[in-house]
Amino acid sequence: MKSSTSKFWLRSLSRAVILFVVAFFFSPRASAADSSPQVTLNVAKVAPREVETLTQRSIVRDYRFAWANLDLALESNSAGPLNGLFVGPANASLNEAVRSQKQNGITSRYLNQSHKLDAVFYAPEGDVIELHDTAEYDLEILDGSKTIHSEHAIVHYVVLMTPGADRWVVRQLQSVAQF
């Protein structure tokens, strides 16, 4: 009796362990890959101009879209997703990042993004806004299909956005050690 009970538990335990090992190593990594970036905006300290409510909504919407497409561009090594969302130095840098990744057979992914924006400057005429982005994401860098780097990163970005024809566009996206 005791022996059969022990055998039962041993079998159960061994199956559980095997299932765990299989699940751990073969489960899809990006279970949250489809979630769009989370973006929040704080305008309490902005000067000299206040940010209108509608402008706040537009900036959050357009910044979220920009980062979602930045991830797509660097994952697929295609500059197409960047068009119309990034201009000037930001556009040039990201295009070069995509080009060199493709040349080297590297891809990168920015997963589970969260961006906390603080507006620090809004020009009197509303033609440029500076944001400080405390960004949090899971960064993965792959050479072909091999993951060479994976980290959960918190990175500070200084962002300049300007109004385009129908959206706010990212003109400067520069990471800094601290604000």
Binding site: L10, E96, N104, A123, E125, E151, L160, Q174, V176, A177
Partner: protein, 301 residues
């Protein structure tokens, strides 16, 4: 491997032990990695070469992921790895990965270099004279690689117009930006605004200051065979600047129980109109918020 495990664990009670040992072997294998001890550059500046320290021996592959590009090349472990000035042009966060079987990585920052260019935005392009806070400007300092210079730098803004002493003020950039706001001058004409980092690094913009709204309208008129010809004195703003051609002046005539009005544009400082009326009329003029004098003209004889 299986024979080794079988040698160690013979009885059926040690099935758990066998499983545990197998797991331990797997975990040990994946936990073990060659510690390459990457030492990142400190105080790296955009456009300046730096080096990355790495221990170990043998060959490996270096990956350098930066804000504006990536690098992949073969290296020898145990030597300082040179990072060229071109590879470090973009300011921002870099991730250096060295793979020799397994991979080790380290992150570091590259700061922007010294400022060499200014982006200067000024509004509006045309501003009415004598208006408070009518003109504003924003200046951003960039280095030669188009990195925003976050370190505070001193900028001088100078506003100069013809016949008026220039106004100058110094401002320090904060978070890469300096800005100013100013009243417009009293005289119409071009206002030159310059933002300067040094004597050699400056950017100039021009704001056209234009006459403000008409002020102190005065009219005169006389009856002629063709009607009552009304004419304004030269139309000027309150600062004495002639208003631009095309500024509309509205003449209104009241008489014999009827009211009529006619709009006339200013041409060469003066607005003119002809009003048809037989009896005595009272004529006034207005432009924007400015009202002129009232003129009484007698009836036709």
């Amino acid at each position: 491997m299986s024979s080794l495990i079988n040698t160690v664990c013979r009885s059926h009670r040690s099935r758990i032990a066998r499983i545990g040992i197998a797991l331990g072997f797997l975990l040990t294998t994946f936990a073990f990695a060659q510690n390459l001890n990457l030492r990142p550059p400190t105080g790296a500046v955009a456009g300046k070469a730096a080096s990355l320290g790495v221990d170990g021996s043998g060959s490996a592959t270096l990956y350098l992921m930066g804000p504006a590009g990536s690098v992949k090349r073969d290296i020898q472990l145990g030597n300082e790895i040179s990072l060229s000035a071109k590879e470090l042009q973009a300011a921002g966060r870099y991730v250096a990965v060295v793979c020799s079987g397994d991979c080790s990585s380290v992150g570091f920052f590259v700061a922007s270099s010294k400022p060499v260019t200014l982006t200067f935005l000024v509004h509006p392009s045309r501003a009415p004279v004598a208006e408070n806070d009518a003109i504003s400007g924003v200046a951003l300092a960039f280095d030669e690689f188009h990195n925003l210079v976050m370190k505070p730098v001193s900028l001088r803004f100078e506003l100069s117009a013809k016949g008026v002493p220039p106004i100058s003020r110094t401002s320090e950039t904060h978070d890469g930006i300096a800005w100013f706001r100013s009243n417009s001058g009293r005289s119409a004409g071009p206002l030159q605004i310059t933002a300067s980092l040094t004597d050699d690094i400056s950017t100039r913009r021009v704001v056209q200051e234009v006459a403000s709204v008409p002020c102190n309208l005065r009219i005169k008129g006389e009856r002629t065979p063709k009607g009552i010809v009304i004419e304004t004195d030269p139309v000027r703003d309150c600062s004495g600047n002639p208003v631009p051609d095309g500024t509309v002046v509205t003449f209104t005539a009241k008489g014999s129980g009827a009211t009529s009005s006619v709009d006339a544009p200013v041409k060469q400082d003066v607005a003119r109109a002809t009003i048809l009326a037989n009896g005595p009329v009272s004529i006034s003029a207005a432009s924007g918020v400015a009202m002129g004098n009232e003129l009484r003209v007698g009836g036709k004889e």
